[in-house]
């Protein structure tokens, strides 16, 4: 399954070509990034574009800046590599015993400022990369855990559309959650 450039065993030309086939992704600010097609296909959006034959080897991504795109590519590369190496762990009777070998790497990856994090969420959503979307959303969620409603409003620029009485009522109903 995992491809290796030193593998010589069965020379299947088509297979080899696929392994080293590249695509170019173009960010909103005009920067081009050349990546392995297999890495780019971590994004379901890009995968569909390629499969539909609309690639022309350069895919414009008007919703993603170069700064964000380079990070996304880094994520996809790392996760593609890891997928090639690891084996699914033997599960006994529980459904939850598959471990993520990249947990530490992922944790470091999301140590970025809030704006970058939000941009990564939007990019992961637009590019349809489930793992990255879950990772970034969970990171934001973890950040939110200890906050008050007012702090949440500030973080997400939310207008408080409750009347003071309504807000007091809702708060009172769930008073225990504030302790």
């Amino acid at each position: 399954m995992a491809s290796s450039s030193t593998s010589v065993v069965v020379s299947n030309k088509e297979k080899e070509n696929k392994n080293t086939k590249k695509v170019t992704l173009k960010s909103s600010d005009g920067e081009s990034f050349e990546v392995d097609e297999s890495v780019a296909m971590e994004s379901q959006t890009i995968k569909h574009i390629i499969e539909d034959g609309c690639a022309n080897n350069e895919i414009p991504l008007p919703n993603v800046t170069s700064g964000i795109l380079s990070r996304v590519i880094e994520y996809c590369k790392k996760h593609k590599e890891a997928a090639g190496e690891s084996e699914p762990s033997v599960t006994s009777y529980t459904s939850n015993s598959t471990t993520n070998p990249l947990t530490e790497w992922d944790t470091e990856f999301v140590k970025v400022d809030q704006n970058t994090l939000f941009d990564l969420i939007l990019a992961a959503n637009y590019l349809d990369i489930k793992g990255l979307l879950d990772l970034t959303c969970k990171t934001v969620a973890d950040m939110m855990k200890g906050k008050t409603p007012q702090e949440i409003r500030e973080t997400f620029h939310i207008k408080n559309d409750y009347t003071p009485e309504e807000e007091a009522e809702v708060r009172k109903e769930n008073q225990w959650a504030f302790e």
Partner: protein, 408 residues
């Protein structure tokens, strides 16, 4: 550098990663967020994520005085399984009740013959079922209840079997949390006798160990499907000998068959593929020397759940305290210890925690927003505070009246 605006569908993705307590707090953020969080689609998504990741995994221990449950604690073990930490005081919405069953973060409580409550302990909400008094029977009737998730209709249901004396159930009714009503079941109970009152719920069906009348060592498994409202019979892996007791449990999402030989061993089987009789597999056997057995009171080890890596099982010590109640034997069961049993090493380790009550009953929960529209569970101190507030107002009014009378 932008102050990116996150659209609502991504907000719900983020929110689905949050524990129940945070979400209860964020209901106050805005009306829009209130609607997002209480939306039934979101509640389902959040629950699915809880189940996948075992989030907000909590064990509730309610202290048991030999006949009923009182208050207790909840213990979280998301972080460290060996430690039962974050003891939070728990006040069930019903006092002097018993825990019937639990599912998807909901716990079903039972009091006496008629009071049934569905409770979400992590969210502190509950719903009391409407009373459904049986008609056409004498005073001498008793019910058996079961609590189950109907997968097909995504509904949580309470089943009631009505017994008149010790015969076959004469009536079967089902309460649906969605419709909030009781409904009669047309299907008749098959000609089988129940071996144990305690049923287990799994895969949208309620299960009992049953046998032909007078032939108690030829057991089978009776299942009642809540969607189709039909009965079905399955086989059990082994037939018990005279000195063996059998029990049904649920473990890791599978039906579990337990053979208990008093003071000797607990042999535990799994139905690996639900509904497939040939898929019964022995998964572990607790032998005499694995744990200290308390022969005075010990009955069997009830399996509660697997550890995250699936190598250990959390067991609850069970002893049987028979009580005679109006001509039939009602099994009252309460527990004393929790034990982590290592399946490979065949060794058990008692959980030491000073917060644990001496005797208790357990329920296991995961993070769920079900019953967000239910009634609030009021902590006793809050209840007392509002009662004394009422009393103060009354005294004040009496005072004023007295003064008026004196002046007049």
């Amino acid at each position: 550098m932008s102050n990116s605006h996150i659209p609502p569908e991504l907000i719900t993705n983020i929110l689905s990663h949050l524990p129940v307590k945070s979400l209860a707090r964020f209901l106050s953020v805005s009306r829009q967020w209130y609607d997002l969080i209480s939306d039934s689609g979101f509640v389902k998504k959040h629950l699915n994520r809880s189940v996948e990741t075992n989030r907000d995994r909590t064990i509730i221990l309610l202290e048991h005085d030999g006949s009923h449950c009182g208050n207790g604690f909840s213990f979280n073990f998301d972080d460290d399984e060996d430690q039962f930490c974050n003891a939070v005081k728990m006040y069930p919405p019903l006092q002097h009740c018993d825990i019937l069953d639990c599912c998807d973060g909901l716990v079903c409580l039972l009091k006496g013959r008629e009071e049934v409550v569905i409770w979400n302990p992590l969210l502190r909400k509950y719903r009391k079922l409407p009373s459904e008094k049986p008609k056409g029977v004498t005073d001498f009737w008793f019910p058996q209840f079961a609590f189950c998730h109907d997968h097909q209709n995504d509904d949580y249901k309470v089943l009631r079997l009505l017994f008149h004396y010790n015969d076959l159930p004469i009536e079967i009714k089902v309460y649906s949390l969605k419709s909030q009503r009781w409904k009669k079941v047309e299907e008749q109970w098959p000609n089988k006798e129940i071996c144990h009152w305690e049923s287990v719920s799994l895969n949208g069906a309620v299960h009992w160990l049953v046998a032909d009348y007078g032939v108690l060592d030829k057991e089978s498994l009776l299942a009642f499907d809540l969607a189709s409202e039909k009965f079905k019979l399955y086989t059990t892996p082994v037939s018990p000998d005279l000195n063996q007791e059998t029990r049904l449990e649920v473990l890791g999402g599978h039906l579990c068959f337990l053979v208990n030989v008093f003071e000797e061993y607990n042999d535990v089987w799994f139905m690996k593929e639900y509904g497939v009789d040939s898929s019964w597999t022995r998964i572990y056997k607790i032998e005499r020397d694995a744990v200290t057995w308390d022969f005075e009171r010990f009955e069997y080890y009830k399996p509660l759940m697997f550890s995250k890596n699936g190598k250990k099982v959390l067991l609850e010590e069970h002893w049987n305290n028979n009580a005679i109640l109006v001509d039939h034997v009602v099994e009252k069961i309460h527990s004393k210890n929790l034990i982590w049993y290592d399946i490979e090493k065949k060794q058990g380790k008692r959980v030491q925690n000073w917060s644990f009550p001496d005797a208790f009953r357990t329920a296991t929960c995961i993070g769920s927003l079900l019953l967000l529209d239910g009634d609030n569970v009021i902590d006793p101190w809050q209840r007392n505070a509002s009662q004394s507030e009422g009393l103060n107002l009354l005294l004040k009014a009496v005072d004023e009246l007295e003064n008026e009378m004196l002046e007049g």
